[in-house]
């Protein structure tokens, strides 16, 4: 079947029910997309399909055929995407393993809501991070959005 991955067309010979994650990782050798749980719980495998965040560990490859698949490698050629830059500026990653998925989810959120509220961030950013980098993820998203710092989650007595 034919797949559009990061603006390139690839012909792959795989089972229709193979999850997109494993086509990306083991067939296409795109290792930036991670396996974490296999049941759509953690979001480490998040990629975009036609701009929508999708958990590729549970997404059959056949359903992605003919659609635009974007992985972390396709976000920018040189880590210059504003979300990637904000992730470095705010020193977000610790181990980094979940961060491809976090970044892909954040990019999609910001595309839909350029100035997300904390509630928007809470609703969209459901990816797990075992290192606990959520505070910095939130800060980085607000920074990209150009949000007034007063909009960021603050102490509410």
């Amino acid at each position: 079947m034919e797949l559009q991955i990061n603006n390139e067309t690839h012909e792959v010979d795989v089972e229709a029910d193979m999850p997109l994650l494993w086509v990306l990782r083991d067939i296409m050798n795109l290792k930036g997309t991670k396996f974490g749980c296999g049941i759509s719980q953690c979001g480490a495998c998040t990629v975009h399909i036609d701009g929508e965040p999708v958990r590729s560990c549970s997404f059959p490859v056949a359903a992605a055929a003919g659609k635009a698949i974007t992985t972390i490698e396709g976000l920018s050629a040189d880590a210059s995407h504003p979300v990637q830059q904000a992730w470095v500026k705010h020193q977000v990653p610790q181990c980094g393993y979940c961060q491809s998925g976090q970044i892909m989810t954040a990019v999609s959120l910001l595309a839909k809501k350029p100035q997300p509220s904390d509630a928007d961030i809470n609703a969209a950013m459901t990816n797990l991070c075992r290192c606990g980098t959520y505070k910095r993820i939130r800060d980085a998203i607000h920074d990209v959005a150009g949000n007034n710092p007063e909009n960021t989650l603050a102490y509410e007595a």
Binding site: A44, Q91, P93, Q94, Y97, L128, Y134
Partner: protein, 721 residues
């Protein structure tokens, strides 16, 4: 301390492993001799290499898994070297070279918040020694006295003659200088790299997918394996029918491993795993097939009631007499469950066996542990094993104590044609159900109060398994496991009459070092019981602690800072309640205060967490802040939902849907209090968690009157708003 600012494109950090045999590295105490390494740089000593273009390569021996020491450890070297941090490049020490050179780079194992505090002296010495050799080389060339030479920010200069040079021009000559017999380390007041929040060098590759973790290794001709281990610890494979699995697309081999696991090898991991899930395996549980959590709890209860246990070394006075004379006596039992590590990157390893060498790639906290596992599994010489360095997708102790996954991968590779690289990857279910778990423990505490509201008499019985005894057969010291007892071996409170003992309580469940180890659980009991005593005395929990801490200045200092930060002595807004706790883990001093409210349905809203740490000396403050933030998330996940339970000898939790972790929407506001009072080097990665759990539970008590003495909180009707 300057705040972190980042411009990754300007930096030239090249994260590569040293080429084996690419240049004989000189030991610090061996006579100096110029050696040109593969890229034309000169090894000034085993830690510092300088190339003609002034690039300073600093070696990093430990493992990076997000804790930040790949950046902070080289900061120690660079400071004494007076290097320009912008010209510093960091490179992993090669594991095979390390072993062949008699472990010249010291400890590689990355556990126990040890990297900075246990290697700071030799790392600073390495920087100072290299600096002295550069100065000697410049003095020779310029014909001036070494005392007249200044080194600053990567520039060697001589004021009298106006001469000036970067390091590169003197690198080869410096490497030929005799190694100084001794060097004088800087006064901390003169540090300019230590104490700065330089951006972490491993972050840029984590934002564009280029970071390579163990599971990302790809090699020509690679095959992929999935494994299923006996669900009951200690059980074995009786039989399995692989006929259907063998006929599936891509399947190359089906095999049993070590008599207790079945693995499928295929041309793609998904195909291997799919075939594996279809294999019906008959297991022998070998005697542990009936064990449930209830049985284990009964065993621990019996340990609390046992007439005798091993005495702790800090007992003093006569606790029984003091309790008999007390105005009030309180007694309480606390329980903390088994917990899994669940790093985001599941366990796995790639192994390739050739006649002359074995290569292994795996995320690890113990590179030499990988080598040992391969040596033990295959009966080869350690000099022929090459363990490659990669970033670990979280460690938290799982990848430090045991490298069981490396053994499995080696045994799979041994059943494949020579030279075939095989990548073993565990499912999340295997990861959750075959961990080395945080020990389950129970604590029975007894405390008396005199008529002045002072603690008079203290007894503690600790019942726990022993990680090292069970994992490696390490004998207990006088019957006490000091990692399980930490938190009770030295109280920060003045209690003249105290008695504490330890009852070893083994089960069939494998035990491991889980972030913060004993300190992840003992403060839950100790610091809540102190609160119970304060309440019984009718005193404020913070001031009750302070009045018992007159002799422990450092514990008092961080507690006061945290109390000030939350404004303890001014009442919180209506409906908001506070808890506080203090701990002294891993050579640091930590305290926390939590503000929360609880609605009628038991939904807890955490309004803010104040996390304070005094590390003595502090190398990279922003990284310390990050570790405290993460430790808070770690502790609250464990408090709310964390438990590993057993039925019929098997772990019941399997994946993140039933082993819950905190998510963004539940993330509280965190404020950190960083103290660097000097005089000692404390740990960073683990200490942050220790005070959070009791401060959180003390706040829940303040809000609800419910004293939570067993975890997780979900069993007490609480949820997180």
């Amino acid at each position: 301390m300057k705040n972190s600012t980042i411009n990754s494109s300007r930096r030239r950090f090249i994260l590569t492993s040293a080429t084996v045999g690419g240049g004989f590295a000189l030991g610090l105490h061996l006579p100096g001799k110029a050696q040109m390494a593969a890229d034309g740089g000169s090894d000034i000593n085993i830690w510092v290499q300088i190339s003609p273009d002034d690039l300073v390569t600093i070696k990093y021996a430990r493992c990076e898994m997000g804790q930040g020491s790949m950046t902070s450890a080289p900061q120690l070297v660079a400071d004494e070297l007076d290097a320009n941090w912008e010209q510093v490049n960091i490179e992993y020490v090669d594991v095979n070279e390390h072993i062949r050179m008699d472990r010249a780079w010291g400890a590689m194992v990355t556990v126990g918040s040890q990297t900075i505090r246990n290697s700071q002296e030799y790392l600073r010495n390495a920087g100072a020694s290299a600096r002295a050799m550069l100065v000697a080389a410049a003095a020779d060339t310029w014909g001036v006295d070494t005392a007249e030479i200044n080194v600053s920010n990567g520039i060697i200069s001589h004021a009298g003659s106006g001469r000036k040079s970067g390091f590169g021009a003197f690198a080869a000559a410096a490497a030929a200088q005799p190694v100084p017999q001794s060097v004088t380390l800087k006064d901390p007041a003169d540090w300019h790299i230590i104490g700065q929040s330089f951006p972490r060098v491993d972050i840029p590759p984590s934002v564009d997918g280029s970071q390579v973790y163990g599971v990302d290794i790809e090699l020509p001709g690679m095959v992929y394996a999935s494994i299923r281990q006996c669900p009951v610890f200690g059980g074995t494979v009786r039989s399995f029918d692989a006929s259907k699995a063998r006929s599936r697309r891509g399947v190359i081999e089906v095999m049993s491993i070590d008599d207790n696991a079945v693995a499928v090898v295929a041309d793609n991991w998904w195909r291997a795993n799919k075939a594996l899930q279809e294999i019906e395996i008959e297991w022998d549980s070998n005697g542990n097939g009936d064990v449930s959590s209830d049985d284990i709890l009964a065993t621990f209860k019996a340990s609390l009631d046992a007439p005798e246990a091993a005495l702790m070394p800090n007992n003093s006075g006569d606790a029984d007499q003091a309790l008999a004379n007390a105005e009030q006596v309180l007694e309480a039992e606390y329980f903390t469950p088994f917990l899994s590590h669940s790093p985001m990157e599941p366990m796995g390893a790639t192994v390739r066996i050739n006649p002359d060498r074995i290569d292994i790639w795996a995320s690890t906290q113990a590179p030499e542990g990988l080598v040992s596992e391969v040596v033990n599994a295959l009966g080869v010489e350690q000099e022929n094993v090459y363990a490659h360095r990669v970033q670990a997708g979280g460690g938290f102790g799982r990848r430090g104590g045991s490298s069981d996954y490396a053994r499995s991968a080696a045994l799979i590779a041994a059943q494949l044609p020579e030279g075939t690289p095989v990548k073993l990857l565990w499912t999340r279910e295997e990861d959750t159900q075959h961990d080395f778990y945080r020990p389950l423990a129970m604590y029975r505490l007894k405390g008396g109060l005199d008529s002045n509201g002072n603690i008079s008499g203290w007894k503690a019985r600790i019942a726990s398994g022993s990680i090292l005894n069970q994992m490696r057969g390490v004998p207990l010291r006088d019957g006490v496991d000091f990692t399980a007892a930490e938190g009770f071996t030295r109280l920060p409170y003045r209690i003249p009459d105290q008695f504490q003992d330890f009852k070893l309580t083994p089960t069939h469940v494998p035990l491991g070092f889980w972030r913060t180890v004993g300190w992840s659980q003992t403060p839950f009991a100790r610091e809540q019981f102190i609160d119970e005593l304060a309440v019984a005395a009718g005193e404020d929990p913070y001031h009750f602690r302070l009045k018992h801490m007159a002799e422990d200045e450092l514990s008092r200092h961080i507690l006061e800072k945290v109390a000030d930060a939350i404004g303890w002595d001014e009442a919180p807004a209506a409906g908001i309640y506070r808890g506080i706790a203090t701990t002294e883990p891993y050579g640091s001093y930590t305290a926390a205060a939590v503000e929360l409210s609880v609605n009628d349905a038991g939904a807890i809203k955490i309004h803010r967490v104040i996390q304070g740490i005094n590390t003595g000396h502090m190398v990279n403050p922003d990284n310390v802040t990050a570790q405290l933030e993460g430790a808070t998330v770690w502790a609250i996940s464990a408090a709310m939902w964390g438990e590993i339970t057993l039925q019929e000898g098997q772990v019941q939790e399997s994946n993140f849907h039933n082993y819950r972790l905190l998510r963004m929407a539940e993330m509280p506001v965190i404020e950190t209090v960083l103290e660097a009072t000097g005089g000692f080097w404390g740990g960073v990665g683990e200490p942050g968690q220790a005070p959070i759990l009791p401060a959180f539970c003390n706040a829940i008590y303040a809000a609800t009157g419910t004293r939570v003495r067993s975890l997780p909180l979900k069993h007490h009707g609480f949820s997180l708003a």
